[in-house]
């Protein structure tokens, strides 16, 4: 008898446009615009503009509209968590992934075979999003951004202690934080609030709008100010956020001798933490680290793991040395020489 996971390769394919479900005629997180797209979360590498029909959580749709306006999609359909929707013969349902607000894993069921597309996910508690839910399945498609055993994110608390220490050393210097506008920025703000920092936090325009959306969706981030709207205010000792691609030149004259800060799982490795020449590297990530990745695979306990996004080699090696079937998602449908 054939394994259910083996059968999945006959109806779920990796194409140029992205992961394609043939019997349902839809894509999950397509890289190019398509007729029908299911979106795990609103980050740019998963949610592209220009799709005709889009199925996603209301939060994800809200962020897509914020980012793409009318180009978010012709027909946007919001799904509630756990609700089962039939697309042709395929049943689809969404479960929290814990990555950013509205992020989901998508379960696809067809002819008795269950495939979970995890999208990006994390297991650490995050005040801005729902916790990851373990969904039993035959095939688990996992990200492996931090798929190397050197990646073990320290507790957020110890990273915030580091931040507090540096601020105590330099009470007059502005803490200048680089962070993605969606997810990382709000998570950091929420963690700062949790650590008892309740002063106003200054944000760059695009981050300010994303935070507004978060607050409207019920996530409390405390008092936020847009940097642009408080010209003339001194930013001495304040916390100022800007997205990674925005240089602080815009208001460089207002920030003297800033403490440049960034937050990422990559900063765990010292040689990488010097690459961006930042003074306060915080090891805080929106992705699972290695212990959480391997633990998740064990909890989900699928027949087969398909690995994408990152260090596939080490993750696949781990799976195989733990008697689990695994392959790189990019090789799905091309045979793996195992059979």
């Amino acid at each position: 008898m054939q394994r259910a996971s083996h059968q999945a390769e006959s109806w779920l394919k990796v194409t140029r446009k992205g992961l394609y479900c043939e019997p349902g005629d839809f894509y999950v997180d397509p890289a190019l615009a398509v007729d029908r797209a299911l979106i795990t979360h609103a980050h740019g590498d998963h949610a592209r503009p220009g799709n005709k029909a889009v199925l996603a959580t209301k939060e994800t749709l809200r962020f897509m509209r914020l980012r793409y306006g009318k180009r978010a999609g012709h027909h946007l359909q919001a799904v509630t968590l756990g609700e089962v929707i039939s697309i042709g013969p395929v049943k689809v349902s969404f479960y929290p992934a814990g990555h950013v607000l509205g992020s989901c894993q998508i379960l696809l069921e067809y002819k008795g075979c269950r495939v979970v597309v995890s999208g990006d996910y994390k297991r650490r508690p995050d005040p801005t999003t729902l916790d990851f839910e373990v969904v039993p399945c035959h095939v688990f498609i996992t990200e492996a951004t931090f798929g190397l055993p050197v990646f073990e994110h320290p507790p957020v608390e110890s990273e915030l202690e580091k931040l507090t220490h540096v601020r105590t050393c330099f009470p007059e210097r502005t803490l200048q934080v680089s962070a993605y506008s969606l997810g990382k920025c709000q998570r950091l703000i929420a963690e700062l609030r949790r650590a008892g920092i309740d002063e106003p936090i200054y944000l760059h325009g695009s981050q300010y709008h994303h935070c507004e959306a978060y607050q409207e969706l019920g996530v409390n981030l405390g008092e936020l100010r847009s940097v642009e709207s408080c010209l003339g205010e001194t930013l001495k000792g304040a916390i100022v956020f800007a997205p990674l691609n925005v240089l602080f030149q815009d208001y460089a004259d207002r920030i003297l001798d800033p403490i440049s800060t960034s937050a990422s799982g990559w900063l765990r490795v010292r040689s990488k933490s010097f690459m961006g020449s930042c003074e306060l590297p915080l090891i805080i990530s929106d992705h699972v680290d290695w212990p959480e990745l391997t633990q998740t695979i064990e909890e989900v306990n699928p027949e087969e793991v398909w690995v994408t996004h990152g260090s596939e080699e080490a993750t696949i090696h781990w799976c195989r040395s733990h008697q689990r079937r695994a392959k790189a998602l990019s090789l799905v449908g091309r045979g793996d020489g195992e059979e």
Binding site: L148, V150, K162, C169, R270, F274, C278, L280, P281
Partner: protein
Amino acid sequence: MKAFSLLLDCLSHASSDEAKIVYLRKYLQDVSASERGYAVGIVTRELNLPAIRLPLLKSRLLDRVDPKLFELSLSFVTDLSETMALLWPAIAEKPISLPDVVTRLNNAEKGEETAVVEDLLNHLPASKRWVVLKLVTARKKPIIAPRLVKAALARWAGKSSQEVAEIWPTLPPPYTELFEWLEGKGERPDVKGRAVFLPMQSAGNFDQTKLNQIKSQDFAVARKWDGLRVQLSSFEQETKLFTSEGDDITALFPDAVKLTTDNSVFEGDLVIVRDGEIQPANELQPRLNRKSATKKLQESHPARFIIDDVLILKGQDVRSRIYSQRYEDLEKYFGDQSNCKVTKTLPCLDEPTLLDLRKATTQERGVVGIRLKRWDAPYEEKNRAGCWLDWLNPPKEARLVLLYAEKGKGAMSPLYSEFTLGTLNQNDAGETLALPVGKSTFEGDKEELASINQWIENNVVERFGPVRSVNLGLVFRVTFGAVQPSARRKSGLILTSLSVEQVLWEESWIEATTRQELLGLMD
């Protein structure tokens, strides 16, 4: 140990010297007295700790982690000790203090050091495992410059850093008496008869456009030797040799400190002299890179001390005397001592002569220019209003190709910043080869260095311990003092005072300067 690992973390990412002082000062304030001395001994590298062999420890790690995952991790992280720190499986974390770590390492029986390190690693989280591995493997370069440590100590205790610097060399880690004094619990340590280090005066750069505003008869003009600026401090109990940063290099140059002086502090240049000729400054490197000077090294690289100033003479502080008086003191004091000499001032009458003098020195081996000292100026730590000026021979330029890279620039730096550079040469078969002509530490922009590192990681050919050979491809614009023959190098040439100015990302390595072209730049 938490505070110390946080300190190292902060220090390695600090954006300025001032930030480093602030971090260290905060640390001194936060931790207990028992920890301070060890910590300071570690960051200055004055504290002796046993060294362990990483390969041995690595094989112990490989008993416990999957070798394939180890290899994949190492190729990503690139640094062996960091990879090991990150992958080491902790059994159960225990609170271990810094003095604990130091005591356990130093009390380890011979041959048991690795086992002690292993036990420490078993009970510490990754960031602290990294600290432990750095303690037992890192090289002797200080983690932060001693002058910054002294500044932080002074600021923390509310003393003058000059006073701290003076007492500093007389006490070994963990500096108990020093800390007692700094904390107001003890007397100022008695330095009578001990070799003190006095803050050194530095020279400014001579501005050639102001040549006509200078009255050359106001200045003592002397050759600027291609050497290391040092201070020799000789007192009843001991004689010590210090770098301008206050690093104690006595053990490295016993041949230069064999002076029969008494209660005096002299200053000058340390040079390597072979066959009566002063060698380029990088000939000092083999001696600076060791922990002590072997007899063989002293013979192959004989060091000499060329004296040009005196701070204390026979117990009398002469820093307030003007240079013409101090120079006279020097000449009177040193008749013909065998292993040191007083620099000769050059006759100088008017401006054109000054220019001619500078030009004439470009022809001399071991000379990088001229140094001007005001005859009527006392010795001062701060170089007020250009009392001392260096007029260096203008540098020459070349485009050299990167051959080898090594991590460096502060013992904790994870970046490749020491580069061996090469010139192109055709062999008999007509093939173009690159041959090394010198080594230089990159001192440019941090982000540029990060890009260079990215390139190096993608282009490693072979590993030789800490050194990586790389594909031919990256070309640097460099400046240097002179081209000199070097029998020990395959190229037969060495470039003195080599410094990297710029990375020529667009340039093909085949466009680099050839050996023939370099020969043409020889004086």
